[in-house]
């Protein structure tokens, strides 16, 4: 991954000592290059232009307006949408819920993912089976995960309620109480993330040179010392990459929220993308929703930049 982030180098041109005829031919080829470029790049540029560049500018533009119910701008209001948002307690609550969710998801995904990878990297009989099982949630899409977990958290028939009853614990209304609902969506998201995270971290652990462990073992390093002073530093670039990918994914969460809680109860799981969806497509407030989109995009862009910068520094690891 890291080498993918390096800066481009100019392509090598044909060596000067090639025959004159070849030079001429190569010159002709390069003259033709711009037509080829148009043919090769045209389709991509068209699609990116219409569905990426234009909407980016359009969202920015709309965020400065009040809009009518089909999303056409009506009154220019400058930064008023942003001011209204950032001073509204409802939006602040949504930001806060997103922060709690993102931190919960990233920390749990990385810790559990690392535990899975660390357990699966040891050579034991039958370990292949465990590796396959640990990566299994990669094949789970968001609606399937939501349905499986909805059942587990559902009142009276769900697994957690049944276990609670068995142990005579107080009943928890998982999806209809704010705190537990947040916990429920975090657990479901983490489970869904684990397959991918496990595969990436497992790959990184396998790449740690074995002699490092042997050398430190000879010097009497305990497994715990080895983990913190050999393993973690060696996989830190991958760990960083995984955490940014997980973090960006968590900021963009929508499907699981929509299916499990619909932003509720009492807006407790009303994450940023859900808020955009609500304001734009349920309330018809496109200007405000555009401002929310811009804020979301800025946050995600900042984290992506951070990742690029970091990986650029770590070209060789």
């Amino acid at each position: 991954m890291a080498e993918m982030m390096s800066t481009p180098k100019p392509q090598s041109t044909p060596k000067p000592q090639v025959a004159e005829r070849e030079k001429q031919r190569s010159f002709n080829l390069h003259v033709n290059d711009k037509y080829y470029a148009l043919a090769f790049l045209g389709p991509s540029l068209l699609v990116l232009g219409v569905f990426v560049f234009y909407p980016m500018l359009r969202t920015l533009y709309l965020s400065l307006f009040l809009t009518n119910n089909v999303g056409r701008p009506t009154v220019f209001v400058g930064l008023k949408n942003y001011v209204n948002l950032l001073t509204s307690s409802a939006y602040q609550a949504s930001l806060q819920a997103t922060a709690v969710y993102v931190i919960g998801v990233v920390v749990c995904t990385l810790v559990i993912g690392l535990l899975l990878a660390q357990m699966a990297v040891r050579k034991l009989a039958g370990i292949q089976w465990f590796r396959t099982i640990f990566s299994a949630t990669m094949g789970v899409s968001v609606s399937v995960a939501a349905i499986f977990w909805l059942f587990i958290f559902s009142p009276s028939v769900g697994l957690f309620d049944q276990i609670g009853k068995l142990l005579h614990l107080p009943l928890v209304q998982w999806l209809t109480t704010p705190g537990p609902a947040m916990v429920a969506v975090i657990i479901s998201t983490v489970w869904m993330n684990l397959g991918f995270t496990f595969l990436i971290l497992f790959g990184a652990l396998q790449m740690v040179p074995q002699p490092l462990y042997e050398a430190s073992a000879i010097e009497g390093a305990s497994p715990r010392y080895q983990f913190f002073h050999v393993t973690l530093p060696m996989i830190s670039p991958t760990l960083f990459f995984t955490s940014t990918v997980t973090l960006i994914g968590a900021f963009k969460s929508f499907g699981l929220i929509d299916l499990m809680t619909a932003g509720g109860p009492n807006n407790a799981t009303n994450l940023m993308v859900y808020q955009v969806y609500r304001d734009a497509f349920l309330n018809g407030n496109y200007g405000l929703a555009s401002a929310e989109s811009v804020i979301l995009a800025v946050i995600i862009a900042l984290f992506t930049l951070l990742q690029f910068k970091f990986l650029e520094k770590r070209v060789t690891y």
Partner: protein, 272 residues
Amino acid sequence: MIQTKTLKPLRYLVLILLAIVILGPFILGFWTSLLPTADIAKGALWSSHISFANYAEAVKQTAILRYLLNSFVISTLTMAAQLLFCSLGAYAFVFLSFKGRDLLFYLILATMMLPFEAEVIPNFATVRRLNLLNHYGVMVIPFLTSAFGIFMLRQAFRQIPPELKEAADVEGLNHWQFYWRVTLPYARISLFTLAAYSFLESWNQYLWPMLTTFSDKFRPVQDGLRQLQSQETFNNWGMIQASAVIVVVPTLIVLFVGQHYFKNGLNEGATK
């Protein structure tokens, strides 16, 4: 040595516990899909009527197979288009020289930072104006190419030795021929990765199809499950679980088969 011996059973215990946690939701989902809904509603996890009746009901009463077909069509088209257009674009950035090439590349690279979720408002207006709503096209056309795919393949194409290009120039191969005969076969592992990535990405789309498709004829599977879960069948847990299992089994099979081939492919590349 003694230490590792006593640790071994403990390791297996931890591994098994972790495996149960990961597999738990799958097992529970599959198991309840075999129980009559009446028993599930009573909170029973055992029944004297274990059968595949829920599956038959799901296939007969819901459009679940149609949703699967829709998703398969949409994801396959998206994957094929991305393989073609991303590789063509990447080729231009590596083997063609034209004015503003680097600037354009960085511009495309920069769009990788923008989440599609933050652009749905204008995009929805665009597809409505293009009369694409509620059609396969609405889920394929915006994703015919991807900045990530261009970026990834550009990195792969840059690994191609310049001598190959020089030799091809001497042979008189034009760019189309070099692209088709040399570049694509050379970067086949990266192409395979992009294929898997773009297929899954399309398969897992949720927000966009939810906004743009309104009928079972075009609705992909994620949105279809949402439909089942939120509407008439609510609380028919047996059938919902059966539908979820129908959806997850093909992807699990693809994943495990793919993983096997992917690992072999990677090894092949590494030992070359």
